[in-house]
């Protein structure tokens, strides 16, 4: 049997950082990833933060990848961070940029399908020097112990092999955790469901519309009627030439009043302010070819489609400085005006000859969904099992505080700590929990991120409250009106924060994370103090079937999910809550069609849930 020092299971942001860091420490590690290519199984919002915390050191992305700031394919550095309270065509906005800047070196918007392959390339370069590397398209199926120091890993594809330690970075739906029984399955109160669409929008239009420059980015958060009465909110982040628009809702609240996940994202897309932000010019075929013969009609349609494709490409490129530069460099066009003229002439030809109308709408590229663990409620207090260490989402380590959703940075910080513990164990050639597991647990406990999951950071709260000064006091719920009042008075602030911390998350959460906070109060604020927002067109949102049809799947004939009780209440709710409608009802029983599954994990609790075999299942293009 082949032997290696360490296996990392899962090639998301956490697993790749572990590989890079262990290799930096001169240790041999192999990373096993189920997706055919790195970055095809991962979803994020995604703002990737680098923090500068005062209560202790966090390990940031640039500590792991030293050329991150110069070379990594990130989207935009967020310089504007807004929270909007919405109610129909009213909106009240708060500038939360100071909270975004709080103890922050930088926050970049990222698309994981672009960024993770870069991480992988960097990690691989280091890993190869120690005889390690990355193996993709392989699904880990089982884990056994030969003796205290030897783990045998079985996969669906390869011969079994043995390692001395494992780092489990297999995400929120961790099979390693299930197989080993290292932790219970996450329950609905531990989780949020995130749904996202990537919207295409030309680079310069983004900059003009969001009032940002070439390298800057904006983040907009939403609460109020867009939540459809659920606990959570919406986000819209600018990427280079796309937007990430998504909704993240507490699973408890979804189970209580099931709402289709896509309806939640649609509610956000239909908000008049958002409508204006995502607006683009979109060609629509009228399909009015009645007077043509069949063959003539096919030919016309073919030509029209080709022209539409050309127009879309050139229209997009025209608004991208790098795209224009490239076109001018390869000599196809002499000036930018020439490109514009070409765009216009195709436009006119489409209108006059092919009966195409140009409408205002938006262009959706990809629909995705995934569960997010709320570290306050579910972080593993003992993030290891024998000689397996859990990092990132697999360990339930996500930060959910007010508008903050952070998992990427946390997973990277965990990875560095796990790598250090494993490296030490290899040096001592002992993988006993005293040496490995406990050491890792201590290192993780020291992380400022762990503190963020355990208690409210009063300084953050201060910054947040300073930003909310314009909110009228009498709107706020009576239960924390007193606190709010005290907070706005600087002399009392210190005392009241102490009070808040005394109460602790456990008692505060029902107040903080309630419908009142996410829906009722924002609606009231918007109605009382909001400004009017006009929309200039009516949006057409693709149906869920169209969204699914656009996704890339490599079908597995075998289902990776087995329904345990097709008549349970929970499974019946899946008919509504599965983001890609994999469940339906027939004769009072729930039936599953696994082919459309995007591996979000929403149905995991009452199913026998596995990731698909290597290379199979969903393959995201943006993530």
């Amino acid at each position: 049997m082949e032997k290696f020092d360490v296996a990392i299971i899962g090639g998301g942001s956490a697993g790749l950082a572990a590989l890079k860091q262990l290799s930096n420490l001169g240790k041999q590690a192999i990373l096993i990833e189920g997706g055919k290519k790195i970055g095809t199984k991962n979803v994020s919002g995604g703002l990737l933060y680098s923090k500068n915390t005062t209560i202790g050191k966090v390990y940031n992305v640039e500590d792991v990848y030293d050329n991150f700031l110069t070379d990594a394919p990130v989207e935009r550095q967020i310089t504007k961070y807004m929270l909007h309270a919405t109610s129909k065509d009213k909106m009240f906005s708060l500038d939360l940029t100071p909270t975004h800047n709080y103890q922050t070196n930088f926050g970049y918007s990222v698309l994981l399908n672009k960024l993770l392959p870069w991480f992988a390339k960097e990690a691989l370069n280091s890993a190869e020097k120690t005889g390690g590397g990355i193996v993709t398209g392989i699904h880990v199926r089982s884990i056994m112990w030969k003796d205290e120091n030897t783990i045998i890993i079985e996969t669906d594809e390869l011969e079994p092999f043995q390692v001395k330690a494992v780092i489990a970075a297999d995400g929120v739906n961790s099979e390693v955790a299930q197989i080993t029984g290292a932790r219970r399955k996450f329950t609905q109160s531990d989780l949020y469901q995130g749904v996202k669409v990537v919207v295409k929008l030309p680079e310069e239009i983004i900059e003009e519309r969001f009032e940002i420059t070439n390298n800057e980015g904006a983040a907009h958060l939403f609460a109020g009627d867009v939540t459809l009465n659920h606990i959570g909110g919406g986000f819209l982040y600018t990427n280079k030439d796309t937007l990430s628009v998504g909704a993240v809702y507490h699973y408890d609240s979804l189970i209580e009043k099931p709402t289709e996940p896509y309806e939640l994202v649609n509610a956000l897309l239909s908000n008049p302010f958002v409508i204006e932000l995502i607006k683009d010019e979109v060609p629509e075929t009228k399909e009015n070819y009645k007077n043509l013969s069949k063959e003539e009609e096919l030919r016309t349609r073919f030509k029209a489609n080709k022209l539409i494709k050309d127009w879309k490409e050139l229209h997009h490129t025209y608004y991208s400085p790098s795209g224009v530069k490239e076109l001018l460099a390869n000599g196809k066009y002499k000036t930018k005006e020439e490109i514009k003229n070409k765009v216009d002439s195709i436009h006119d030809e489409l209108v006059s000859k092919y009966d195409i109308e140009f409408e205002s709408n938006y262009v959706e590229l990809e629909y995705s969904a995934k569960l997010v663990p709320d570290g306050k409620r579910c972080r593993m207090k003992k993030p290891y099992f024998k000689n397996i260490l859990f990092i990132g989402d697999a360990a339930g380590r996500g930060i959910f505080v007010g508008p903050r959703i952070e998992g990427l940075n946390v997973g990277i910080d965990d990875a560095v700590r796990a790598a250090e513990a494993v490296s030490n164990a290899i040096d001592k050639n002992s993988f006993h929990s005293n040496i490995l597991g406990e050491r890792y647990r201590r290192l993780v406990e020291e992380s400022p991120y762990t503190k963020d999951m355990d208690e409210i950071d009063k300084n953050y709260l201060k910054v947040f409250l300073d930003c909310t000064k314009q909110v009228p006091n009498d709107i706020v719920d009576y239960r924390y009106r007193a606190i709010f009042k005290l907070m706005s008075n600087s002399t009392f602030r210190g005392i009241s924060v102490g009070l808040v911390n005394k109460l602790g998350y456990r008692r505060l959460l029902p107040i903080l994370e309630s419908n009142k906070t996410y829906t009722e109060v924002p609606i009231k604020i918007a109605e009382r103090k909001g400004k009017d927002v006009q929309k200039s067109y009516s949006i057409r949102i693709p149906a869920i079937a169209e969204r699914i049809a656009k996704l890339n799947y490599n079908d597995d004939s075998l289902s990776h999910i087995k329904v345990l009780d097709s008549q349970s209440d929970f499974m019946k709710k899946m008919v509504t809550l599965c983001p890609t409608k994999c469940y339906s009802m027939e004769n009072g029983r729930v039936i599953l069609q696994h082919e459309g599954c995007i591996e979000c994990g929403t149905c995991l609790k009452e199913t026998e849930w596995r990731h698909p075999r290597g290379e199979k299942g969903i393959a995201y293009q943006y993530g």
């Binding site: 590397g133 990355i134 193996v135 594809e157 390869l158 011969e159 092999f161 063959e295 009609e297």
Partner: protein, 298 residues
């Protein structure tokens, strides 16, 4: 027996062919292939042969040489093959007098070229595709094998090597007693000449092989972008060939004329259906069902 160097030496014979994939072929008005307009690529069977060499490289650390006979543009086939199998050496056999060669004369050039490979230490396995897609007869392989004095084994779908004993163990597809696709297992001492079944695809089933595969793919990208550094071009003279046995003089067969076989008149009527309409599509489905009935819903 393995060649004396101790490293497994494998060769791949490839061919540049018109790209028959959709949208890339161009025809003359009489329906014959327009060779000038059609793009040329590494033939699909050559690609399969290259992937068999990749298997040898990843699993056994083989030294890989790739060869083709043809005009200078045939270099493209070598480059594309190198991208698949991370070849260490590329051979182009190019000489005006090779023109008009039939399969026998081609085999003679390949024989002489293979002898020159791997510092003339001797090639243990020669891989070639099933046959070329632009009308080859499948004779070049067996003839080259015969000239080299290597056993010829066709339709191979899997192989493994016992380096110590100098043997190769293979699986191949055969037809027997009216059954297609019978898998025959056999063993042969090295050296051998192998043609691959089109269904062949290498499978790497250990972690080390996968790691090695990734390294090789990485390397192959780098190498093939600078493929000229690996390229050696040979003429009839540098291959020390007898001019009577190559090109037209060495070709006992001559292609006198290629006839276009007239297409049988189709005895069917086509309806053009607008596939954009749901209603029309269900009509099509109904008609298919009408013709095939239950047999399609097994």
């Amino acid at each position: 027996m393995l060649n004396p160097s101790g490293t497994l030496n494998v060769a791949v014979i490839v061919k540049l062919e018109p790209d028959f994939s959709e949208g890339n072929v161009s025809y003359n008005s009489d329906g014959t292939l327009n060779r000038a307009e059609t793009k040329n690529v590494l033939g699909p069977h050559s690609a399969v042969a290259s992937s068999a060499a990749l298997y040898a490289k990843v699993k056994y650390g083989a030294n890989v040489s790739v060869a083709t006979m043809g005009p200078p543009i045939a270099e493209a086939a070598l480059q594309q093959s190198q991208l698949i199998c991370n070849a260490d050496e590329l051979h182009l056999y190019s000489d005006r007098i090779f023109a008009g060669a039939d399969t026998l004369a081609t085999s003679e050039v390949l024989r002489a070229g293979i002898k020159k490979m791997a510092n003339e230490q001797g090639i243990d396995i020669v891989f070639s595709g099933h046959r070329a897609s632009d009308g080859e007869t499948g004779q070049t392989g067996p003839q080259t094998a015969w000239k080299l004095g290597y056993p010829f084994i066709g339709n191979v779908i899997d192989y493994d090597i016992d380096k110590e004993r100098g043997y190769v163990r293979l699986q191949r597809l055969i037809k027997n007693y009216g059954h297609n696709d019978i898998i025959e297992e056999l063993e042969s001492p090295l050296p051998v000449f192998i043609t691959l079944d089109p269904s062949y695809s290498p499978f790497f089933n250990t972690v080390s092989q996968r790691l090695n595969l990734a390294l090789n793919q990485n390397d192959a990208e780098k190498r093939s972008s600078r493929y000229k550094e690996y390229l050696k071009t040979f003429s009839a003279q540098s291959l020390e060939l007898n001019l009577k046995s190559v090109g037209l003089p060495g070709s006992p067969t001559i292609v006198y004329k290629v006839e276009k076989i007239p297409r049988a008149k189709a005895n069917r009527k086509a309806d053009i259906i607008d596939g954009y309409s749901q209603e029309n599509l269900s009509q099509v489905a109904r008609r298919i069902y009408g013709i095939l009935g239950e047999t399609i819903i097994k």
